[in-house]
């Protein structure tokens, strides 16, 4: 990651977590997911919209989400993604991992600072 960037870019795997989290509120299409992530992180996390789609395919392959083409109110055919039961479970695991990692990283960083 570039050193001078003030906004951290996304670590792989974290994006999955964010997608799953977004879908917790109900089925959504790709564009909606991107917008939601951007909004809820108050623009701190900058998701390159394109990177969303490989992640969506991956999650669908692993059975965490499912998708369906549906017509929107405006008459557009769009692909809607939905969280599966497995995805729900995965989300819980990923969240707890993330917390542990965050805690651990914090602890390590603190120890390193304390030692020097």
């Amino acid at each position: 990651m570039p050193k001078n960037s003030k906004r951290p870019s996304l670590i792989q795997g974290t994006l999955d977590l964010l997608i799953l989290r977004t879908l917790l509120f109900g089925p959504c299409h790709g564009h909606g997911i991107a917008k939601h992530i951007q909004r809820t992180s108050e623009d701190v996390l900058q998701v390159e919209h394109g990177s969303l789609y490989p992640a969506l395919r991956r999650l669908e392959d692993s059975g965490c989400i499912s998708s369906k083409w549906e017509s929107t109110d405006s008459g557009r055919d769009m692909r809607f993604y939905k969280l599966t039961a497995k995805g729900r479970k995965q989300l819980e695991i990923e969240e707890s991992h993330w917390e542990q990692l965050a805690n651990a990283m914090t602890r390590i960083l603190r120890t390193v600072r304390g030692d020097t």
Binding site: I11, T14, G30, H31, K35, S51, E70, S96, Q100, A104
Partner: protein
């Protein structure tokens, strides 16, 4: 509702919709349409790359991951060369040993013979209801009947193994394996000589009329210097000139790859190429030396062929009930093991396969242990990778890839090891295998086997720790943050215990074999083991008549007896530990030899007066043979105690009379102590000796009693060569050599197991050291606290050593229990008990001592922990 099934189009549409929505949003914020579209594209990133990423997911994801895993695995392994070296070395030994043994099995049992359309060929043997576990060959006359009356074989040929004397101007005289074959032998096998011709029809018609031979490529090279003009010339077989008709292609060994046949002769040469026993019995249907080979007619099935043979066997049994009653004919694949030798080979191969199997298993445990130790160290890495989204499957795949990379390196190293160990094994090979008999080159089957066991190996050592590690990592993060884990440690304890147990088993077995060898050497063979020199020769094969032969034997005895340092000389056809003699059916006085229910098969020998004295076999009662036992005087016999015990328990055997099928009665005039027959330590067999002065025997050994058996051998050989320059002299050795050779199986087992036990103990020691060092470092604070509270260094030392002692003792207990069960399987190879206490004690002692030594360094380090620093550490 999907409008389009093509996933590429679907993605394309999805992206277009996305860009459209984004642009509309931006236009709503006041951008111009063109600006908005550009901004939408920017926000989206590189469309082509996205498409490629997705496509890769569909298609190349696994391949991409594999490359990534390989690269990662390579980097990780490169960083720990010590680990890699130990792991590859132990796996290479395991894989190499297995490949080596399989190469042998392949060469002996599996490799198809280099014959034309070999699947149409079958071997035919005789089975006897009375001896269901044995298989017999076929008599010559039965062969002719089978050949002429069957309607399923295009050709049927016969072959019998014999040994002949061979001499030429180019090389010293030799005794070689030959085959006595029917004239159509090469046609049946579908192989023609590379140079010259095979046999002509008229060459197997009249006994002794046509002396002609076809020689093997190997004999041509080794004995005749590869002379291309040899066909049409003669070589001396049994001291008669034989016309060399042809030379077979390289690596042609007929249907039996083990014996390494040097030359083939038509069976009608038997008056010249075989001994008296053969000559007298050749036309008897009781004498069954021939293996038959049939080439099935096109369209004939094996079932039809078998049914036809059964019919012929029934007709033979009706026509010749004395010889063929209760017998039938059975078919076997050609080139398989000679069923007459199966038992030996299966035992040997089974033993070797078991030993190398254990080697590989121990190697796997070693490497699994090493990997587990690394997992402990790599917990941090695993935890982080796990948390940033690597799935368990992905981690397992990663570790298995590392394992596979290790396996690949080990397999290559293993092939090298197998090459070397095959050479070593060849040094140890039993004497019955000839040097050129086996084709031990690497072929696809061996390579396939090696790859298969390598894959299994990889699964064994890499998968289990990988699964464990990936699971531990997940639990670990929740439980204790990033750090060591009791679970992994207990896993390692288990592995180390297993390792100690296995090395103990190997060491105990090695100890058993070593002790058994030691005991064997000091065992009472009933003879003066270290004072006998001997060599064998066959005068009959060399064309001597009985009168000439007796004169020569007498001359030899006199010449050798006159040599310095010779205390006694005798001649006999039966030599303890070196074989010889004949097994014959014996009938007691009053039993009818023509009644097939009578008769006991026992080993018999023909020996000169003084034979027992020279060998150091004590007389128990009666007298030795003497020169006064002549052809004209009553025929006499000497028996051993086992025979007296078997036939006349509690009676005085002296004066009893026995006979063979075609012989007069022999009166028992002496009883001698039992002595070893083929192997030392076997239960004594009943043996009957007859006197050379009354029964002529042309194929004998000369036995010399002397204080320097090794030194005298050359002198004795010289004396014999002065009497006949062309006489091949074989089995030139001291009785000690004979004993040594007869013990090849336990010797091979002892050396393999010692190496294996030592190696696995060494790896167990490394393992113990690792675990203890780790455990001490984990318990720094606790130990520091103990020291601070006044515990002496001695008690800390005891504590750490005690921990490793517990591990060692658990392993030793398991090892002893398993050994007690497992060593029963090797009991038949052992002299003495399979539960020999010293072997068990010594091996256990070594293992425990090694375990304590391995933990001494970590223990001492523990006593030097500075309480202050240790307590301040976190």
């Amino acid at each position: 509702m999907s409008m389009n099934k093509d996933p590429h189009d679907e993605l394309q549409r999805e992206i277009e919709t996305h860009l459209d929505l984004e642009a509309r949003e931006r236009m709503a914020q006041g951008m111009s349409e063109e600006e908005a579209r550009r901004a939408a594209r920017r926000a989206f990133g590189n469309i082509t790359r996205v498409q490629e990423d997705v496509r890769e997911l569909w298609r190349w994801a696994w391949f991409e991951r594999l490359i990534q895993d390989l690269r990662y695995a390579y980097r990780t392994l490169r960083n720990s060369p010590g680990f890699v070296a130990v792991a590859v070395l132990s796996l290479a030994v395991g894989i190499g040993a297995n490949t080596a043994i399989f190469t042998l099995v392949n060469a002996v049992l599996l490799k198809p013979l280099p014959l034309h359309d070999v699947s149409r060929l079958v071997s035919i043997y005789t089975a006897d209801e009375k001896n269901p576990e044995m298989m017999f060959g076929t008599s010559r006359d039965n062969y002719l009947d089978i050949r002429d009356s069957n309607n399923v074989f295009d050709r049927t040929s016969a072959a019998a193994k014999i040994t002949v004397n061979l001499a030429s101007d180019a090389a010293p005289p030799e005794r070689v394996t030959a085959e006595l074959v029917s004239g159509n032998y090469f046609e049946t096998l579908g192989t023609t000589p590379a140079i010259g011709r095979g046999f002509l029809p008229e060459e197997d018609q009249t006994p002794g009329a046509k002396l002609v031979t076809v020689i093997s490529h190997e004999l041509w090279q080794s004995h005749l210097g590869g002379d291309p003009s040899i066909t049409g010339k003669t070589i001396l077989v049994n001291n008669r000139p034989f016309l060399v008709a042809g030379i077979m292609p390289a690596r042609f060994h007929g249907t039996n790859s083990l014996s390494g046949t040097a030359l083939w002769v038509p069976y009608m040469t038997y008056p010249v190429t075989t001994n008296d026993t053969y000559r007298n019995a050749f036309s008897s249907r009781r004498f069954t030396p021939f293996e038959l080979i049939g080439r099935m007619k096109p369209g004939v099935t094996r079932e039809q062929a078998d049914a036809n043979l059964k019919t012929i066997a029934r007709r033979l049994a009706e026509a010749y009930p004395n010889e063929n009653a209760q017998r039938t004919l059975v078919m076997r694949n050609v080139g398989g093991l000679d069923p007459r030798e199966t038992q030996n080979v299966v035992t040997t191969v089974g033993m070797l396969m078991t030993i190398v199997g254990v080697v590989l298993f121990i190697a796997c445990i070693n490497v699994a242990n090493l990997l587990l130790a690394r997992m402990t160290v790599r917990q941090r890495e695993i935890a982080i990778r796990r948390s940033i989204g690597a799935t368990r499957g992905r981690l397992i795949r990663q570790f298995v890839t590392e394992g596979a990379l290790l396996t690949l390196a080990s397999t290559i190293a293993g092939l090298v090891v197998s090459k070397i160990s095959l050479q070593v094994f060849w040094e140890y090979r039993p004497a019955l295998l000839s040097a050129t008999a086996l084709d031990l080159r690497l072929d696809l089957r061996v390579l396939g086997f090696t790859i298969a066991i390598s894959l299994i190996t990889c699964m064994l050592f890499a998968l289990a720790p990988a699964i464990k590690a990936s699971r531990t990592a997940a639990i670990d993060l929740k439980a204790r943050g990033i750090g060591g884990s009791e679970r992994t440690l207990s896993g390692r304890h288990l592995l180390i215990t297993a390792q100690i147990a296995l090395s103990l088993i190997a060491l105990i077995s090695a100890g058993l074999f070593l002790r058994s060898l030691q005991r064997a050497i000091h065992m009472d063979a009933g003879i003066a083991l270290d004072e006998i020199a001997m060599m064998a020769f066959d005068l009959g094969a060399q064309g001597y008549t009985e009168a000439q032969g007796r004169t020569l034997q007498q001359d030899m005895v006199e010449r050798v007896a006159a040599l310095n340092g010779v205390q006694g000389v005798a001649i006999g056809d039966l030599v303890p530990l070196a074989g010889g003699g004949y097994t014959r059916s014996l009938y007691l006085e009053g039993e009818d030899p023509n009644d097939r229910r009578n008769g006991y098969i026992i080993p018999t020998g023909v020996v000169s007066p003084g034979y027992f004295g020279v060998l150091g076999i004590e007389m128990v009662s009666g007298r030795d043979f003497a020169d006064s036992d002549k052809l004209a005087t009553p025929t006499v016999a000497i028996i051993n105690e086992a025979m007296a015990q078997k036939f006349w328990p509690g009676e005085n055997p002296l004066g009893k009379r026995v006979r063979f099928l075609r012989s007069g009665y022999f009166e028992v005039v002496g009883v001698v102590k039992n002595s070893a027959y083929n192997t030392i330590g076997a239960p004594p067999l009943p043996i009957l000796y007859r006197s050379l002065t009354q029964v002529y025997q042309a194929q004998v050994s000369i036995l010399v009693r002397t204080n320097q058996p090794e030194e005298i051998l050359g002198l004795v050989r010289n004396q014999i060569q002065q009497l006949d320059r062309r006489l091949p002299i074989t089995n030139v050795m001291s009785m000690d050599d004979a004993l040594y050779e007869s013990l090849w199986a336990p010797r091979l087992a002892a050396s393999l197991l010692t190496v294996l036990g030592g190696m696995s103990l060494m790896l167990a020691v490394i393992g113990i050291y690792g675990v203890m060092a780790y455990s001490v470092s984990q318990r720094r604070q606790e130990i520091g606290l103990r020291l601070a509270l006044g515990a002496g260094p001695q008690s800390v030392l005891r504590m750490v050593l005690g921990q490793s002692l517990r591990l060692a003792l658990a392993g030793v207990a398991a090892g002893i229990l398993i050994s007690l069960g497992a060593t029963r399987f090797i009991a038949t190879l052992l002299y003495g008990s399979a539960t020999d206490a010293p072997s068990f004690l010594a091996a256990s002692g070594i293992v425990v001592a090694a375990a304590l030594a391995a933990s001494y360094l970590p223990a001492r380090r523990a006593t030097r922990i500075d309480p202050v620093i240790a307590l301040r550490a976190e």
